[in-house]
Symmetry: D2
Subunit: 341 residues, 4 copies
């Protein structure tokens, strides 16, 4: 961290600042130019509060060199994290596809879709029990009942289940869920993240619509600093000026996150564009860019889906895409571990 | 609402769709062009699920004409909503300034600042007890103790208090708070919004960093559909490509929200730019654009602030700005109701 | 400028880098930390090529402290620039309103509008002769004939004329124009900017849809470095995710540009929102934020306008707004110099 | 096109509007709801001026169904366009890599790089003679001399050359260039586009930093409506809030442009992220998403590059990437046509 002092900074104030920083266990290296004084801060600056420094009278600018996250940082953990989901591995060369309906709607629907996505080669079953909907008048999900149906589908197919939490007070309903998802709109629901730091389960953390990759890693850090190191990062499209797709898939997020962090990175091509026909090319691009997995919406009857039908694939379409996914994952040197269980 | 059907839509499927829509209590008016068939949907389409319609095989596009919110809509409630905060009015020509520190830090700080902002003419005292911080290592607020200190400051000064909630389970701590704030990062924390719909208190709802004005109004609708109609909308800057300011104040949000909705609109010039020296010109612009109030960060010692020091004003600076605020509010024909209590 | 070197930078390479920088007439101050070496560059770094430095093997990061523009920089020119337009002053406390149709369409139209905007109190007449249109099939303007009609309107009303250039080869047609406008889409048409640096006329430079304020100032620098210091900066809305307004007016641009630069700043409330009814509140906000002028579209018959009718005011509406503009400019301490000529 | 009329629209005005539209050779189908009147416009609405319609008193909203471009539209030209560049094919299954330095700097540099990129398998040589630089103080390119050096490199290697035009008046210098590039900043320099519509050479049209895909296609339409149908579209990253990459590569642009248009689409992974190490994963993603080619910056000595060194590859790095590019292009079913000449 470099602190650039104001030209007119009083020597006494500078000494106080140096003493304060040293009091935090850091070393300070002062560099005196003709009319600029710089302080180089040496040591672990992860926990230094930049905003507080910037508010000081004597400080002109503060520039971070070190990243503000530590547990999620590849520098301190060079090996890829491999998340274990009921024996299925994700990360470190192991590729997984989670598939299923946007919302769990009824017993028949989820069991049918679970059978179909399993047959097509998916390794995980996804489905929403609690649904974040922009309108209070839209279908809000089956809630606890939806989770029970997902468990039944898991029993039948052996596929571990992934579902979204929206409210800390529902946490006990998620006790038997395999992967807890945090949706884009809750990426900075810090109270929820803190709570999930105490859970012994993988957390699938989706990037917020307008959050930087650094903020995503800081939110992972919230979970990890609580003790839960099983975080899966998910890029699902960001909000930009472009309107022909619902969001803009930030494909660079894959190599960037994998460089900055040891955590696995998955892509959600269904939400990224909001268009069924674009799931295939975006899935291919995700694999090619180095992603560790995909989350794909599949519905047995998209035209009757209670939410997000426009971006859901039919099982037959999904099956075709999976054939290409398998070959492409193989071509790019990862394995799909289909038959672990 | 207009539904544009696909060219090859089968007549049988079209009849089913029409029957389904009519089953929701709406009328359908079919218009047959040479190769385009349109369905005009007449009636209250607020609760129609557009995504579900878009997923239908026969549908090419769905275009809303009517807004998807009703309680917040000025069309159905032409009069300005005036929110009453312990006898102080906000909206409908009544202008309020809420001021105070980003975080409540200790008893002396909050009491001192409260005295100072009252002396300068603020009508409400703001202060954070629970703080949303990007880093898990940054100061997270005093929590319940902070709320107690705010209440003590209210007792001393008579200023009603505004403070942010981050977790539904903290709701009982807010029982004696005058205005509950929902922060930008929780604007689409729908579970929290639903809960606040059952509270009998004004809610200050901040726009999310990348949320449209329609989404802001939909979040207000979440609260209002639960029964709580006392919602204050707050524009606090959106995320754009520009980096010289922390966020970009969307000043057009003021006239647009006031045209679309009857709810009062306030501006947070402190967070919008993140720069102390810009609070004054942005406050002037907000008043000129028709805002009903301001939320301004004031700290008795910004360089020691535990959060957001860089954007906090010193009390003397705030006092100068308030002199201009009062004259400008008066020039633009609103009243500040300073001495109601 | 601070250069942060890579940890493993070879001493010989560092010495070469220092020699190279010193060869550009700058001083280098080396600061050695435990595992970070910093070089502080002292002197006028305006012309240092940051990208070239960043490409060096030994360099980790380069951070500018000084702004990369000089002629436009208030630091080197603390006094406000006052632009003189045929005797009418803009900047330094002098406020001007330029008004007129988006496109000059015919003799009757431009003469009528010119009379009307003059009567309402506008100080400058604007009108497009060459029009940048997204579609090749849309009306492209009257070209040279439009400029002739503007000159006739100037003769009749005494109002100096402002019109847009799109092609360097048209420059001779602009010889008798009073202010040459560079549109948003040409803000980084550097060849055009260079050419305008040799013209002895005020240039109205509009901010690009996705350009930062620093880039706007760099484009002003292109013109100024050629010798033409009469640049007027114009904020006209930026492109964001918000769709209820055509663009998002960045009101913070006014105080920021005026802090960074001595050049006058005007606002175009017509293009910013693309909505007639929003011209008034945005004009008020612009004045309150410290703008030096406004550019407003006025058409004698907006429903017949060949371009941008939706955002054009009728003369009677413009006249009402001008009454408020005059009072507001006066309230905020600037003068409108209506009767200079 | 659907026109939604205002509730209070006078019948006489509606009749006039219908007559006016019919006068443009279109049919109008009126649909009368309880309180909404719709006009469906049937026929080729490409050239209808939406803004003009929206300005009409009786019109509430206008919604396009048909795209506003025709020559670029796949609907009217279902077959992929294959551009022929001195016998090398691009599009329709033919994949090309253009490589070379950001700027042509001197004879030795461009000849060396040309030899190296040819050896690595590039099919086209790119190099900037005229350079758009944000700062007037940065290196602006060798100009005409740079083009002469490119031609010499072509003679030596047989590689066709691609270089950027910034000024219409330079057009004669480009007479013997093989592909003329229009840079992102000039994507809406409509005067330049019109001129290029009369050139008999492929045009490589880069998407602007904040331009939608529809606008990109409209700019292609400008060129094509002039008679030049050889347009290559290029996605090179858009401007968003994310700061860890210089721009955000919009990978969805590839499938979207190819669905909407028959024109070939190439990706510039060097400018997209601005990071050398990210060129490989983004190139892989581009191929996987269906791109028809890549434009990659290669410099024989990036640390001495006069522009954009940070994103340029060394020839050895480029050669390694090309090995993977060839295999990946083959895997995804396209051919590289390396040995056509």
């Amino acid at each position: 961290m470099i602190i650039i002092l104001k030209e007119q900074a009083a020597p006494q104030k500078i000494r106080e600042l140096i003493a304060d920083i040293e009091g935090q266990g850091l070393s300070v290296h002062q560099s005196q130019g003709v009319n600029t004084t710089l302080l180089g801060i040496i040591g672990d600056t992860t926990k230094v509060d930049v905003e507080k420094l910037q508010a000081l009278d004597v400080v002109a600018q503060v520039k971070r060199i070190q990243e503000p996250y530590k547990s999620a940082n590849r520098k301190f953990h060079p090996q890829d994290t491999v998340v274990d989901i009921r024996g299925r591995k994700l990360g470190g060369g192991h590729f997984q596809v989670a598939a299923g309906p946007c919302s769990v709607e009824n017993r028949e629907q989820i069991l049918t879709v679970a059978d179909q996505v399993k047959a097509a080669g998916a390794g995980l079953l996804r489905g929403g029990a609690f649904k974040p909907r922009t309108s209070p008048y839209a279908f809000q999900g089956l809630g606890g009942e939806g989770i029970e149906l997902l468990k039944e589908a898991r029993e039948r197919t052996g596929l571990p289940i992934v579902t979204e939490i929206m409210n800390i007070s529902h946490l006990d309903l998620f006790e038997d869920v395999d992967v807890i998802q945090v949706g884009a709109r809750n990426m900075q629901n810090f109270e929820l993240l803190k709570e999930l730091g105490h859970v012994d389960k993988p957390i699938l953390l989706k990037r917020g619509l307008a959050n930087t990759l650094e903020e995503l890693l800081m939110s992972a850090e919230y979970i990890m600093s609580g003790g839960n190191e099983q975080v899966i990062l998910c890029e699902r499209g960001i909000r930009t000026f472009e309107t022909s797709t619902r969001n803009t898939l930030d494909i660079s997020a894959v190599p960037m996150l994998k460089k900055k962090s040891h955590l696995p990175v998955v892509i959600d091509p269904s939400h990224a564009a909001g268009l069924t026909w674009m799931v295939e090319p975006l899935s291919m691009a995700a694999i090619a860019a180095g992603a560790d997995g995909l989350i794909i919406e599949v519905h047995n009857c998209p035209e009757k889906a209670l939410s997000d039908g426009a971006q859901s694939l039919r099982p037959a379409q999904f099956s075709e895409i999976m054939d290409k996914v398998k070959k492409t994952v193989d071509f790019f040197g990862k394995s799909m571990d289909e038959n672990q269980m």
